[in-house]
Subunit: 405 residues, 2 copies
């Protein structure tokens, strides 16, 4: 029995923090959609839900393949993004606009908040008896979406972090001292942990890695740094912006007051946490050369540092969402990256329920974190290395010592 195809227009939008490969997903979806006759117009909404609410749409069917390919390799959301979390009233309005433009295929690229939004819009459509395929396309540098082995955007951000630490470790080796680098990641430590991929030679930093999955204690931090300094005479530290104390209170919140539109403490776009940690080391450990850098937005937008695997998977996630929507088997869902167990890196995209991805986030599993809670395990390296891909080769002088005269 042939399934009757749902005929109508498509709308796609991007939401949340941009990534270096989020446009691969956009272009993957658009190019796939062009293959399906049941999809008529292909609209893009500018700045996510905001563009839908304001009927600020563009016609992606008019883009040339050549330009789409150039956009695909360009960082940051080409359609614009939004941090807005929709109210129930917003969802009613969004749904009204989607109906007005005869949208029958709706795709929303984003993290867990965006999956939640897609879920709400899907429910509204179902309740109204309006036939519309509703799919969320996974992305986040934080790598914290449930159901996913990893998420598009993480590999490239991880590559940036690893290459940054490779260089920073060499800088710290040339001019020894304590160097603290603050990495993005509100609740999950994956991106901070990716700093460990920078280690090439014995003694290479990062020497300490602090993630939100383990409570952060200032006295323990000072003791850890003193121990590394005693052995290595230098210390490179990776700290997640989202580290919390024993009570779950973010350490950064002691120094930062601003709150974002989701009601979360704004952790990025400030050097306050790094500066405070550096001050603590200077004062308590009495070490003179202590510096901190906060990698900030470069991690999600730097041009020219892309994981090839990440780019490919992001493209596939976008294309797969359209295939799922057009396949007739599912009316809604989210794309999830699955990975074969074993040594050979093999991934594919599965469709999962929206509610499985929405709201709650995923954390670093225990097997990726060392017992002391200040480093990663070899299991994490095995997990992350193929996602991030090959890093630049670096060398070190043999530096054969000369006998003193």
């Amino acid at each position: 029995m042939a399934t009757e195809k749902l005929v109508g227009n498509m709308l796609i939008a991007q939401s949340g923090g941009p990534t270096v490969v989020i446009n691969q997903s956009l272009v993957g979806a658009v190019l796939e959609a062009k293959k399906h006759k049941e999809i008529k117009k292909i609209y893009g909404s500018l700045h996510g839900l905001k563009g839908i609410l304001e009927e600020n749409l563009c016609d992606l069917g008019k883009e040339t393949k050549q330009n789409l390919e150039l956009v695909a390799q360009t960082p940051s959301s080409a359609l614009g993004s939004v941090r807005k979390k929709p109210t129930p009233e917003d969802c009613v309005k969004v749904f009204a606009v989607l109906q007005k433009y005869n949208i029958r295929y709706f795709f929303y690229i984003g993290g867990n908040d965006s999956a939640e939004t897609t879920h709400i819009i899907n429910e509204a459509a179902q309740q109204a008896g309006y036939q519309m395929k509703c799919f969320h396309i996974c992305k986040t540098i934080d790598n914290d979406l449930r159901e996913n082995d990893h998420t598009p955007g993480f590999g490239s951000a991880g590559k940036f972090v690893a290459q940054a630490f490779m260089g920073d470790n060499l800088d710290n080796r040339a001019l020894p001292g304590v160097k603290i680098n603050v990495i993005m990641g509100r609740g999950a430590g994956f991106l901070t942990a990716a700093s460990a991929l920078a280690r090439v030679f014995p003694g290479d930093g990062p020497h300490l890695i602090y993630i939100p999955e383990r409570p952060f204690s200032l006295p323990q931090f000072v003791a850890d740094v003193q121990r590394v300094m005693a052995g290595q005479k230098r210390c490179v530290v990776a700290v997640s912006e989202g580290i919390v104390d024993e009570t779950g209170e973010p350490i950064a919140s002691k120094f930062i007051s601003e709150v974002d539109s989701h009601g979360n403490k704004q952790l990025s776009g400030s050097g306050a946490l790094g500066d405070a940690l550096a001050k603590e080391i200077k004062e308590k450990a009495q070490i003179s050369r202590v510096r901190s850098d906060t990698f900030g937005y470069l991690q999600r937008s730097f041009t020219g540092v892309v994981s090839a695997v990440d780019a490919k998977e992001a493209r596939l996630a976008g294309a797969s969402a359209v295939k799922f929507a057009c396949g007739g088997q599912f009316n809604n869902g989210s794309t999830a990256i699955k990975r074969a167990p074993g040594k050979i890196y093999k991934t594919w995209i599965e469709r999962t329920e929206l509610r499985n991805v929405a709201k709650e986030t995923r954390h670093m599993p225990d097997e990726f974190i060392n017992a002391a809670g200040n480093d990663v395990t070899p299991a994490f390296i095995k997990y992350a290395a193929p996602i991030v891909g090959p890093l630049p080769k670096i060398g070190r002088l043999k530096a054969a010592p000369v006998s003193k005269k």
Copy 2:
């Protein structure tokens, strides 16, 4: 009449802030030295003058060519660096060690402080009637050495800054607001100015560029940002860490107290300036989404982002210093990059007097700065683009608007 060759050992060291190509100069010098029979042992000093004072030397003659080539493409001083400014007593000690190891060829890779050190050591040798060739090899990401059209290290740091701004401009376009990025450069604005190379499409940031060569006024800054926001609805700002007020007082010194070993206020390794400028905009211009990032040490050490021209010139500077030393024409000097006038990019290395490079630094010429003192001119772009080299290609959606229904 054949010149009698000075026969003896060579010592090379690296000093000051590392760069991504400083090892190209080291390897260029070592490989060139291996061609000259009058140079016997090739010693490297670990951590600059400190290694000489402590007789902490290594035998670079024992390095394989293959390993040297790997080191050449590795960021940050492979021999280690030092921030130490030698006292007159240090210079006496350094000279004594050089004599003890029969060093007849001395090379010091660094900025203007290192040129000054080389000059002092050279004078000490001359006064003692000790024959020794003394050469400084130019490097600094700040691009502030006199006699040089530009310096090794600047091109790659400029490439990092440009690629960072390309991405950050796209991030700011996706999620509009004010974004302030603080760039390295104590007295010279070249590296901050390199952010202008990130502009690809009309309206691209950075929209404002502030450099130490022009006095920085907080009220004018707020007015500039408000004007850009009124037009573009967003604003990306490049600010040098070394910006000063009308009296020449660094703006950062109002927020940072630490002083480095040269007696200079420590401007890097803190997010304080960026945070303070962001706070000023939030309060005075009443703009809600204001973020700041301080690019920090990544600018001089990030692995994998290298200007090919910069790498080639750094290699040539190292090799040229050895050629000058062995040529018989000069007993001392510094390498300076010279450039042919006109459209075709052509450079070569000349020998210049040590005192011409030592102590004082070079600043952005007036022709590179716009009248308002908040941007660069097309002349700067013409100057900097070939040094930084090609940047990644990025695209933008045509985004043909859809009529509202």
